[in-house]
């Protein structure tokens, strides 16, 4: 895939580098990179990979831009509040480099769609915000043999590595199991320095470009720790674990599993599936665990209102033999409610992903 005169001019500072050259720039143009999440880490990744001339960027996100995102998610601007992150990111990428093809995946990555999405790309950069998706992305990359430029952040600290590359280790070699829910706070609960994902996302972007060009030494087999508060970078050795359940010598995970269950979280159901179940007249109970004033403002008529605080007292109103789907505003309180019902022996409890915020 040869470069146009406009591209030769645009990328001249790249092609001057002997390690890149015109041939390297053509490789970048041919490359297909999947960015999982267009938030804190995905923003700098997308902006710089677009500027660098990566030909195709796949973006996975189903969220909309919120004012609280703007402190760090620099691909989105103030006028984008309320827009789909995919639309906002695609516009920013087109402005930086119209030569880049953006593929929009407006979905939550899950076990049913991950392999089909990841399969079309050469390199994956994982910038998600939760453990189920971290393990899902890892397993999909290992199963398909795609390198994963990994980055993760918390408060003032970040981690980065390259997983599932050649004979190197994967995320499960580093952490065979996720922490139980509630023990490790998320950025939404614990906060994050806005600049931090810029640094960590660009470490991921650097690794992506090196993986495409086949130059330098990647973070394969190394975990980079970044401490912004003390401005220290440290490096730890990572090894492929021969007993790793997914990339080890005798793997037991040979297809994607239910990652919410693996992480001790309730299994999710998409709002569109809930709508379909309602219109089919499926036999299930829909429970809304928000407060009465929230319910009054907007609700799904078929849902039974049981505010989360009153649920323990009202468990007897529920039928264990039926499937139960729980919803709230954003999916957090309903996750707590799902766990409460599971602890009380309800076998089939699902959490409506994204809550009423995702109900259109």
């Amino acid at each position: 895939m040869s470069l146009t005169p406009e591209e030769l001019q645009r990328y001249s500072r790249h092609t001057l580098l002997p390690e890149v050259g015109v041939a390297g720039q053509e490789r970048l143009k041919q490359a297909r990179v999947l960015l999982v999440g267009t938030g804190g880490l995905g923003s700098p990744l997308a902006l710089y990979l677009a500027a660098a001339g990566v030909g195709t960027l796949g973006l996975v996100d189903y969220d909309t831009v919120d004012a609280s995102n703007l402190q760090r998610q620099v691909i989105h601007g103030t006028s984008d509040i309320g827009r789909k992150k995919l639309d906002s990111a695609a516009d920013a990428i087109a402005e930086i480099n119209p030569n880049v093809t953006v593929v929009r995946h407006e979905v939550a990555l899950n076990s049913a769609n991950a392999l089909d999405i990841v399969r079309d790309y050469g390199v994956v950069a994982d910038g998600t915000d939760n453990f189920p998706t971290r393990y899902l992305v890892n397993d999909a990359c290992v199963l398909l043999g795609k390198p994963n430029a990994y980055g993760s952040i918390f408060r003032f600290e970040g981690q980065a590595s390259v997983f599932a590359h050649q004979d190197g280790p994967c995320y499960r070699c580093l952490y065979p199991e996720p922490p139980p829910p509630g023990l490790v706070p998320s950025c939404a609960e614990g906060g994050v320095l806005g600049i931090l994902p810029g640094v960590v996302g660009l470490i991921q972007a650097t690794e992506v470009v090196k993986l495409i060009l086949g130059i330098g030494e990647t973070l394969k087999g190394r975990l980079l720790l970044y401490d912004a508060l003390n401005m220290r970078f440290r490096e730890l050795k990572l090894r492929r674990n021969p007993e790793c359940p997914v990339c080890g010598d005798n793997p037991t995970v040979t297809k994607l599993v239910d990652y919410h269950q693996f992480c001790g979280m309730p299994t999710e159901i998409a709002p569109s599936e809930v709508r379909a179940k309602l219109s089919r007249g499926d036999d299930f109970m829909l429970i809304d665990v928000r407060e009465p004033h929230e319910h009054q403002a907007r609700n799904i008529p078929q849902a039974l209102l049981i505010p989360l605080g009153t649920l323990p007292k009202r468990v007897s109103e529920l039928d264990r033999s039926r499937q139960i789907v729980i919803l709230c505003k954003s999916g957090m309180r309903s996750a707590t409610a799902c766990n409460l019902l599971r602890e009380r022996g309800f076998p089939d409890v699902l959490n409506m992903r994204g809550g009423m915020d995702s109900w259109t």
Partner: protein, 92 residues
């Protein structure tokens, strides 16, 4: 005395400190001393059965103790023990 680096998610259980010194000649001894200084750390490092949690990795220098002598790995007086828990943040 060995030096222990406490990661951000666990600092609130270690009096807000980013590094702590605790005596001991092995990882097990140092962690025992650490958790007696800061008892709130215990449930974040060890499961109810007493083993190290699988989402918490311990390094002596730059080596993962799982590939050394695990909790019996020797720790020199001037060495650094790093606790590296899994963190998932990135998008939202």
């Amino acid at each position: 005395m060995p030096h222990i680096l406490i990661p951000a998610p666990l600092r609130q259980y270690a009096g807000g400190q980013s590094s702590v010194e605790a005596p001991g000649a092995t990882v097990a001894e140092v962690l025992a001393a650490l958790t007696s200084l800061h008892p709130d750390l215990r449930k974040h490092l060890f499961s109810d059965q007493g083993g190290l949690r699988s989402f918490v990795n311990i390094y002596v220098g730059d080596e993962d103790i799982r590939y050394l002598e695990k909790e019996q790995t020797a720790v020199g007086a001037s060495e650094t023990l790093t606790i590296v828990p899994s963190i998932a943040g990135g998008a939202r």
